[in-house]
Symmetry: C2
Subunit: 186 residues, 2 copies
DNA sequence: ATTAAGATTGACTAATCAGTCTACAAAAAT
DNA sequence: ATTTTTGTAGACTGATTAGTCAATCTTAAT
């Protein structure tokens, strides 16, 4: 029903399959089942569509990560919950995850304002700063810690995708990886 | 003099600046100072050029990593040398490094044969297998270890690029990061 | 010297693409 | 009921693009 969302869904699918360069707006409109004109009614340019899609996906991811933080949770438990929810989000939304990777290492990234990026990571950053202040995490620059964590998630996901394990083995690898990371940052 | 190399250099620069999609072959030829026809004489299609550039860069990177392995080197020393040479290669060749990232998370990756990829990583993989067998590295799947190492290098590089530190501080972060990784994998 | 093979050029083309425009329909506001 | 706003369509266009081609130049072999 919601044409705007249909357009984003179609764009996501095609961008991941054919790349930004290989996906004409006409194909996106076609895949979304709307006219060419409708696409440009909602998004003034193709670039704007690409950026809007990134923000759309990132907003949903960070909402997922930030949600259901328990009350009396220990720092380690929170850290693990964040790690696991990121990991499982990536596994359950492979297309979205691949898109963010693709976007991240493309010139499009510079079209997103710092403000927007900070908005997406504030919750996580605040938690990590607390954990550093509480002397639980190592006394390292918070940006470094953040980057180490994210890149580990990318890496582990890549491994899981490449070696198609069953759900059980997958869970093992994820838990084992968490222990590695936890040892590293504490 | 070597037109083929000039074409690769020009393509590299433009791809990183404008993305694969935003770089017409005509601009590549222009930047390289050759004619349109010459470009297509060496590379039958644009895709072929993109893939050739990836292989060209990766070959030089792995040659750099695989070189100067000392004789009586301990496993830790070898591991550190590999880590450091990768890190410094990334710092000294930021455009090349960014290109590989961009390529890696694009649909172009599937155009590179498994064989070609294995050729690039064989040396490093063999060393890691030795280190696992010698019970120095943790008993983990080698692909997982490899992925963890590479993604950490990506991540640390990203951090270093974002926070423009002086050479001294940069070195500190790199050494400190090595210790974190070494603790993690042993 | 002559030939053959590859290198280089740049004009050319057929196809494609991002984005526009006009027309019309639906809904909302007055 | 009528006006205004918003959504939707799809034909259209001017610019651009990947790739071709025939002609010339260079190099090396015979």
């Amino acid at each position: 029903m919601d044409k705007q969302e249909q357009i984003l869904k179609a764009a996501l699918k095609l961008f991941v399959e054919y790349g930004f360069h290989g996906t004409p707006t006409s194909k996106i409109a076609q895949e979304a089942g709307v006219s060419n004109g409708t696409l440009f009614h909602y998004y003034k340019t193709k670039d704007e569509l690409v950026v809007a899609l990134y923000i759309y996906i990132k907003t949903r991811l960070s909402a997922c990560i930030d949600s259901n933080r328990g009350e009396g949770e220990t720092i380690k438990a929170t850290f693990k919950r964040i790690f696991l929810s990121s990991m499982y989000w990536a596994i359950e939304n492979p297309t979205e995850f691949q898109f963010t990777q693709q976007f991240h290492s493309s010139p499009y990234l510079s079209m997103v304002s710092d403000e927007e990026i900070k908005k997406q990571t504030k919750c996580l950053m605040d938690f990590m700063q607390e954990a550093i202040d509480a002397r639980v995490l190592k006394q390292l620059p918070i940006d470094l810690l953040f980057t180490l964590l994210s890149s580990q998630i990318y890496g582990i996901n890549e491994y899981l995708v490449a070696s198609s394990l069953d759900a059980e083995k997958q869970k093992e690898v994820i838990n084992l990886s968490f222990d590695l990371i936890w040892d590293m940052v504490t």
